[in-house]
């Protein structure tokens, strides 16, 4: 589904990622873990087109997406959420999700300004779909609230709803459990499983080991910009190199 081939990223003199290759199986939940500064978010930024890698290739299915910018990836079915929630704070909850349907609609400035019949139909479709995704994540009752006024946990859910509205093949979540309390984290685990049931591949960067070990089928460990290990949760838990990296032994 998603394949990285020899990714290097150098910021000035600092090597953030060094020869990282990995592949994510279609329909799986894959976790990327590693100590702070391991390069997890940098990796996400490269895959999602926000950064350009110094060298290496990224493939989505058969397609080489190495040089595509962020805005081109949504229509190919790749979407992400952010570590520090990036909502459209002044817009309503419903409108946020409606923006997620941007690539599912195509009315231009002219037909929007003159409210041509095609645009009205499209608008109806966008709204129905957006409401559907809010129901999926359990936010439907908050549809008319301003996104900026949501509590943190709900904001997270909204970000996921908005990403789902893109109807992605693969969704990358950057620390989805950060800032959530234990009850919200359990709900999040349930939601991620339901997303998988829709046939969507999930990749998450996460520090909450309990969550990662619980829901991920395969785990990739990064340390100091390199891939340290990969395997099932059980294999990772028993991997000496991983234990050493986390406990700071050498």
């Amino acid at each position: 589904m998603l394949r990285l081939d020899g990714i290097n990223k150098i910021f000035g003199g600092l090597t953030a990622l060094e020869d990282v290759s990995l592949s994510v199986t279609k329909g799986s939940i894959t976790g990327i873990i590693g100590p702070n500064g391991a390069g997890k978010t940098t990796l996400f930024n490269i895959v999602t087109g926000l950064y350009t890698q110094t060298s290496g290739q990224v493939y989505l299915g058969e397609k080489n997406i190495s040089l595509l910018a962020a805005e081109a990836l949504a229509s190919l079915g790749l979407v992400r959420t952010f570590q520090n929630i990036e909502l459209f704070g002044q817009m309503t909850v419903l409108e946020n999700v409606m923006v997620g349907l941007h690539t599912k609609s195509k009315s231009g400035i002219f037909s929007c300004a003159f409210k041509l019949p095609g645009q009205i139909r499209e608008e109806k479709y966008i709204k129905e779909k957006a409401l559907h995704w809010l129901e999926f994540t359990g936010l439907a009752e908050l549809a008319d609230q301003t996104a900026g006024s949501l509590p943190f946990g709900k904001g997270r859910l909204l970000e996921i709803s908005r990403a789902l509205a893109v109807e992605p093949q693969i969704i990358l979540m950057d620390e989805p459990a950060a800032g959530l309390n234990s009850r919200e984290t359990i709900e999040l685990a349930g939601l991620i499983r339901r997303i998988k049931e829709l046939g969507i591949t999930v990749v998450l960067v996460e520090h909450d080991m309990e969550l990662v070990m619980d829901i991920c089928e395969s785990i990739i460990v990064l340390n100091l910009g390199r891939k340290l290990a990969e395997g099932t949760p059980r294999e990772i838990q028993e991997n000496q190199a991983v234990i050493a990296a986390y406990l700071g032994e050498s």
Binding site: L50, S75, V166
Partner: protein
């Protein structure tokens, strides 16, 4: 009543009020002020699409207003082209220029974008002043013909009022439609978080250029209307001061509100007239009022009005429940 129906009603009510106003006015002075309010509303709405929705500043918008006015003026006076055709060409050329400069300029953000648009405005202002052979330079361009439809000539305040306001209402309606569409949402998304908008598939770079182009097109049409109703134009009206005034109208009225732009334009056009009774102190009061509005109504006059409406509504409800 659905939100959509309510908005249609509000617009119809607003349009009816605008169209009926001249019937209750005596004398051409007020009518003349209202014509200016109409032109300024059109400009403020055009700038609001860029500033209030997409969140991109332009300190050079008076240049597009001027460009529209001068293209229309020059084509009609020197080449005897029909005023309506001149207006079309003015809009087309200004939009074309905006499109071309938009790609490099809109890569900039924040203060840098402000500086770039400021520079553009100043270059255009100097051009209006110095190309004397075409524009007449500082002494202006006169004898611009009025617009006409058959034998109906727009050469008096009454006719001009309806000409300008029909255009203004049209621009307002189209902008309201646009703001509530996928394009409007994408613009506001760029405003709130450009990176998240891009991840959702919004091509921020292209969309910003598109809205800049539309904004320039509407400003140029306002400029053309201005030239054909005033029949005389000079560079003073299209300088840096006016660019700042337009930004002030949008902010005072309310960023991202089309009716707010009308309020902002109305206040900033009328205030200098109303404050004239204070003679030398007018500029002080003018500044003071702007400061107070921005301090106590950060959402602009339109948010102040809606707060007031809610306050009154809650008072009325309170009385009813007491009785």
């Amino acid at each position: 009543m659905t939100k959509e129906k309510r908005q249609i009603l509000i617009f119809l009510f607003f349009a009816a009020a605008v169209l009926a106003t001249p019937l209750f006015l005596k004398g051409s002075y007020f009518l003349n002020v209202l014509v200016f309010i109409g032109i300024n509303t059109m400009l403020a709405v055009a700038l609001n699409l860029l500033l209030g929705y997409a969140g991109q500043i332009s300190l050079g918008h008076a240049a597009f207003f001027g460009l529209g006015a001068y293209i229309s003026g020059i084509l009609t006076t020197r080449f005897a082209i029909d005023p309506w055709q001149a207006m079309g060409l003015a809009g087309f050329c200004s939009a074309g220029l905006a499109f071309v400069i938009g790609f490099p300029i809109l890569k900039l953000k924040g203060h840098y974008l402000a500086m770039a648009t400021l520079g553009f405005g100043i270059i255009m202002y100097i051009t209006f002043n110095e190309t004397v052979g075409w524009t007449g330079g500082p002494s202006g361009l006169s004898g611009i013909p009025n617009l006409h439809i058959g034998s109906l000539i727009f050469d008096n305040d009454w006719n001009n009022y309806y000409l300008i306001w029909i255009f203004t209402l049209g621009v307002m309606l189209l902008s309201i439609n646009l703001s509530q569409s996928r394009i409007g949402r994408a613009l506001r998304a760029i405003h709130d978080s450009e990176v998240a908008a891009r991840v959702m598939g919004v091509n921020a770079r292209v969309l910003k250029v598109q809205i800049f182009t539309v904004s320039a097109l509407l400003s140029a049409i306002a400029g053309s209307l201005y030239a054909h109703t005033m029949t005389f134009i000079s560079p003073v009206a299209f300088g840096f001061n006016f660019s700042v005034e337009l930004v002030t109208m949008v902010i005072i009225g309310g960023l991202g509100s089309i009716y707010g732009s009308f309020l902002g334009a109305a206040i900033l056009t009328m205030l200098p007239e109303l404050l004239r009774v204070f003679k030398d102190f007018d500029i002080v009061l003018y500044g003071l009022m702007l400061i107070l509005i921005t301090m106590y109504m950060p959402g602009g006059l339109i948010s102040g009005l809606s707060m007031l409406a809610k306050f009154v509504a809650s008072k009325i409800r309170g009385k009813q429940s007491n009785a």
